[in-house]
Point group: C2
Chain length 331, copies 2
């Protein structure tokens, strides 16, 4: 939302929210938003830059994390994959000398095999994800950022590597010199995206506390997404993934430093400059609020351990959005 | 072996045996032969007419049954698939609305996924099976009947159906009017086959007690295989899959009746007429020996429940082969 368009008023009870999301951290807020909003008021556009072909299967880690989280099937300890998972496939694969660096659980395999089969049959990822979500009783709408092939490439002193090689095979150890999104320039957003942005009942667009460089930037790299956010008539709010100079999980802080950026919420605001109307930060970083030229709200904590934490943070996000929308209301 | 070629003498201790095999019943004898012969003296050519693409995976039921049996990994109760198998993939697949009529165990999936990946990468089935057998510490040589695509089609009053649809999806209930092997005319035997037949240390060729129509005929339909057996210089022996007018397992007897053939060991001899030198039958069918114009031996039982049963029957097969070879020795 740029400027005071006056289009958004006090959040109507039936309004919808659009979230942009990567994997684990983002999915936590998505779960809170879905719980707080209630049935079918949330649309989640998920990063697919991390997708890759592995063992002949189309693996979509972020989509699955969001799907499993909203379906109540995600593993609460590991953070990724399915709860009550078994690993007999992996054991047998190792015996056969197969590539075992990327763990695929027995239950999880069903999603990869079905998705791959249906993609080969000509269905779009958007349609497959929607159907799987429906079958798993998810009421939120989950969509990939695109049905086209976009691949996040992490550039390092050892050369470029596909995202999962950097993230899993090399456990994020190589220094990141830059990140690119192969295929993004030719990609089109999932058909779910324009409809969700143009929905007259839309209340807010939320950029989840995912890794801005690895999880959100690929979504923004799909032509039309950044522009849609810039021209949105509702508040666009990001939740900072940084708490006290550190990321809750994953390589966000490490990458920021390697890219020559301070691992601060102020730097997150700068990264999303021109795109967001407000940034929600952790109280630990309250001092940074003055360093930022957009509206900042602070949450007592942005750490989401319990479902209660997730709902609390979701309510703060929605209140912040409502506040920003009200402020721009014509007098 | 046709006529007295004099090429085979008393079985030397180091000689090899070539077996043609389908699934469960045949694999039992294969296990016995491998145990009795000792390390690396057995070559098994396995039916692949039952292979099919399922969920985007290349599934090869008979090859896997032989592989798992010789690797000590087969389930002793179910007869197919792997011991200590889990079924979490299938449960999850059902939740997603996937095709669940063909059960794929979690451990079993590793073989299907690896095989499919390697086939797509351009490897031959022969090479993949050999490598998997080596990794699973199988000393016998296992090879598919062909690296080309041959598909057994079961013709029924309801129309033609791929083998697994007949066998698993329709549980062998439709009446069989005929059976054909699509692609067989253009197929070439696995490169393992001519080498095994021409091996100067070959002692015997054994047609295992598999379904002649569904499991052995596809192998014989590959151009060059039938001819090689007809011209073999060693005894060719079949073990009848019929005991007292019934098959131990599976639809053999039912199919024979539907095809207008009596479900007897004599009919099995007739089926393999011109191809085999001897038929080994169960003592229960001893009365049929006189109805057959080839040499018949009877085993106290051809039922193989324990490993001991399998070894006993294997010894009878090898003794029978040795006897036939000796008889044709120049005086």
């Amino acid at each position: 939302m740029k400027g005071n368009t006056g289009a958004a008023a006090t959040a109507p009870p039936g309004g919808r929210v659009l979230a942009l999301c990567g994997g684990i951290g983002g999915a936590k807020l998505v779960l809170g938003l879905d719980a707080v909003l209630g049935a079918g008021r949330l649309t989640v556009i998920v990063n697919t830059g991390d997708d890759f072909e592995h063992l002949g299967l189309h693996v979509a880690p972020d989509l699955d994390t969001v799907l499993y989280t909203l379906a109540g099937l995600s593993d609460p300890v590991r953070g990724w994959g399915r709860v009550d998972e078994s690993w007999n496939f992996m054991t047998a694969l190792r015996e056969l000398g197969g590539e075992a660096w990327f763990a695929l659980g027995d239950r999880d395999l069903a999603v990869h095999i079905e998705r791959t089969r249906r993609l080969r049959g000509g269905e779009t990822l958007t349609s497959i994800v929607a159907d799987m979500a429906r079958r798993l009783k998810v009421e939120a709408r989950i969509a990939p950022m695109t049905d086209d092939r976009v691949r996040t490439i992490v550039h390092t002193p050892d050369g470029p590597m596909p995202f999962q090689h950097y993230f899993v095979k090399h456990a994020c150890t190589p220094a990141v010199t830059s990140i690119s999104f192969a295929g993004a320039a030719e990609a089109r957003p999932s058909p779910v995206f324009p409809g969700a942005v143009a929905d007259p009942s839309l209340l807010a667009i939320v950029i989840c506390p995912s890794n801005p460089y690895l999880s959100v930037d690929p979504i923004l790299a799909v032509p039309g997404v950044r522009e849609a956010l810039e021209h949105a008539t509702v508040p666009v709010i990001a939740v900072s993934p940084i708490i006290g100079g550190k990321a809750v999980k994953g390589p966000t802080a490490k990458i920021m430093k390697e890219l020559g950026v301070a691992a601060t919420s102020a730097a997150i605001a700068e990264h999303y400059h021109g795109l967001i109307d407000g940034l929600l930060i952790d109280a630990a970083d309250a001092a940074e609020a003055n360093l930022v030229d957009i509206r900042v709200a602070t949450a007592p904590t942005t750490l989401m351990k319990s479902i209660d934490d997730k709902c609390k943070l979701a309510r703060i996000v929605l209140d912040f959005a409502g506040q920003l929308a009200n402020e721009r209301e014509p007098a």
